[in-house]
Each structure stands twice: as C-alpha cells, then as structure tokens.
C-alpha cells in the first residue's frame, strides 16, 4: 500500500486482479489504512500543481475524475491553493462600471481613483500568480549555509536551460525572532542583485525564478528579516546553488 501503488490504483494503471488485490490488502488489516486518504489528496495536489507526467495527467482526467465527490474534491483543493497564494476575487468590468454609475459623482471620483490605484497595486502580483497556476515548475529545496562552508560543501545544482517554465526554490527557514513580520529574499550572482521577493512569515519561504532568467552560474539567495518597526536584518549565511549548462547530446 505504498503511495505509488495507490496512485497506480486510482489512475487505473493496475489490472483488474491487481486492483482487487490492492483492495483486499487494505481491507485485511484491523483498520482501513489511515494514510490512504491523505495520499489521495497528495495525488490531487500534484495534479493541480503540474506535478504529474503527461500520461498520468491524462489518466487522472479520464480515470480518476469520474465521480461527483472526486471532482468536488479537486475543485475545493484548487480553491484552497488559490487562497494560500492569496489570489484576489475577480470582478468583471461590467460589474465595476455598474457599481460606479450607481454612486454619487463627487465621492465616486475619489473612490475610483483609490480603487484603481489599489487594483493596479494588487493586480500585478495576482496576474503573475494566475499565469503561475498554469505554469510548469521545477522545484529545489535549499538549506542555509554559512559563508565559511561555501567552498567545501556540495551545493544543489540545476541544469539549464530548464525544461519547465520556472524554478521554484523553497528555503528551509531559520529560527525566527518574535519581532520578525516578513522576510526579503534577495537573489544574487557574482556581479549583481537579480531579484527581490518579500514574503510574510505566515507563508512558506520560496522564490520563483522564470526559466528565461536562469543562466549558467553560481547563485546565492540572501535572507533578510523585516521587523515590526520596519528595520531589516540580514540572516547570517546564504542559500547557495548553481546552474550548469546541459551537456549536448550526441
């Protein structure tokens, strides 16, 4: 009853006899295996985050999404992922105009200016989020390394050009001080700062690097703690990784 076997069962990759055997095994114990439901959820999450192969994806849509309960589970999981990445609700242009026309003129003008300004500020990250939902990602997981170990420690490596739309790097967070309200992640190479990302402490620490920006080289992600009073403090060490060019195939 491994994760892989459950995936094969749910995607109907097993023969009828193998599927029956799988069910028999699940039923044979004192209790129904408690990890199966969460493993099924992980399959759903992998589907939503483009973590399945093309063949698995097709099988998921054809063989798994066959009942109301399963389809509903996928849709609510998608909603949760959207909430976690804080996509704002979409409002149609027609609705915006209708609301505008129903309001008195004078405060209406001021309101429109404020709403447009906020919408512009909010929409730019959300638009990139919406395109991110359909992107394929390569994932990397990095731990903090102190500068004096940089030369002696083997770092994570990614091959470029990426065969996905972006590289998402998850950072193992350091011990957090109680005054820290958010982090700034600064991506650098030997010559310059390449990008900056701010993230609240309630969110996981990660940075998304579009494939087009990732060239061969050595990189570091530096972490800064941002405190309640707005001051910043650099976290000692860095998250080091390299991008190496793909060897040409013969």
């Amino acid at each position: 009853m491994t994760h892989e076997r459950l995936t094969a069962y749910l995607l109907q990759e097993l023969t009828v006899e193998e599927a029956e055997q799988f069910e028999n095994q699940c039923f044979a114990g004192e209790e129904w295996p408690s990890h199966l439901h969460s493993a099924e959820q992980e399959l759903i999450d992998a589907y939503l985050c483009n973590g399945l192969s093309k063949d698995q994806r097709l099988r998921f849509e054809k063989n798994y999404l066959t009942t109301d309960a399963r389809k509903a589970r996928v849709l609510t999981a998608r909603s949760l992922l959207q909430v976690l990445t804080q996509a704002p609700a979409k409002t149609s242009l027609r609705e915006t105009i209708r609301t505008f026309l129903e309001r008195p003129l004078v405060p209406q003008v001021g309101l429109v200016i404020i709403v447009l300004a906020i919408a512009l500020w909010l929409l730019s990250p959300s638009l990139s989020f919406l395109s991110q939902l359909n992107e394929s990602h390569k994932f990397m997981y990095l731990s903090l390394t102190s500068w004096d170990r940089v030369g002696g420690v083997k770092h994570e490596t990614v091959t470029v050009p990426l065969d996905r739309d972006s590289l998402v790097i998850h950072l193992n967070p350091p011990q957090r001080s109680p005054d820290t309200t958010s982090y700034r992640i600064q991506w650098e190479d030997a010559n310059s700062i390449l990008d900056n990302v701010k993230t609240p402490v309630s969110h996981s620490l990660n940075i998304r690097i579009p494939a087009a920006k990732l060239k061969p080289g050595q990189y570091v992600l530096k972490l800064f703690e941002i405190n309640r009073d707005g001051t910043e403090k650099r976290v000692s060490g860095g998250y080091y990784f390299s991008a190496v060019e793909k060897s040409p195939t013969r």
């Binding site: 990890h35 439901h37 998402v168």
Partner: protein
Amino acid sequence: MDQHSNNLLTYLGPEDPDEAGRRYQRLHQKLTGFFQLRGVADPTVAADEALDWVARIILEENDIPDIDAVCLRIARYMMMGGSRHNTRESTAFLEFLQQNEGATDTGNARFNLMKTCFEKLDESDRELLDSYCVAPPGLGRTKYLEHLAAQLNTSPTALSIRVMKLREGLDNCVKESSKSHW
C-alpha cells in the same frame, strides 16, 4: 437500532456487547474507507447499508466464516452499475462548484467561501496548511515534509493526517456554507 443490526451485533460478540461494538465499528470504518476510495458521495451511508446487507445474510445463513470477506464482497456488489457514486446533493454541490469556476458577476463564490472557512481556522493551523500545501511535488517534497515534521516535533505520517483532517474540515465548511446557493 433495528432488528438486523441487533442480530449483527449479537453475531459479532454473543457474550461481550463491548467487543461486538468494537468489531462493528472496525467493519464500519473499513467499509467507509473502501467507499471513500471508490469516490462514493456518501461513504458513511454506504457503509451503513453494506452492514445492513451483512446482517440480513447472517439472518439467512446463521454463520459466516469470514465476515470481512463478505463485507468487501457486498461493498463491491453495491458499486456495480455506478449508481452509488453520486447523490442528488453531491451533484448539486458539484454544479455549484463548477458554475463558480469562472464566475465574475458575484466574484468567485467558491474562492470566497474557502477564504472565509480558512480564516476561521486558528493561526497555527493556517500556517501549517500554508507550509504543507505549497511543498514541491516529487522527491523534493518528501525531504521538505520530513523537515517540516521535524520542526513541528512530529512524524511525517502524523503531520499528513493532521493536515488531512484540517482539509476535510475546510471541505465540509465550504459545502455547508454553499448550501444556500444550491
């Protein structure tokens, strides 16, 4: 409790009602798990029905050598034809979710309901879901989740079960909150 259920309980523990109750619960839990795995809309109701069937068989046969095997056979039989998968309620809820896939004039109701339900959770639970659900897929995920579990002083299995319960709670909250829409 009806006569069939009483017969079943008596069969499961003729001398020990507590043991009969425990065996009944274990069978019910396994049947619920089976129906849930098969994507049935209401696995608990299906499990009740399966045990009703078993009770009737016991009445007719008086003895069943392997009650687990009979339960599973009945559960599979109930799944034949596909009529068990969906209920009126499950279809209505799914239609609501699908209608709001690209809803614009009332905003995305599905997203808003989930947001409301999510915000009702304790901060620690919200943080846990955030950390867990954005973990990368594939091999990196296992490493990430092991680390997360270690940070929380728990095992990866216990962590995934805890997250599963939170997510089930959210799904139920969205479903209950959405009922006025369908």
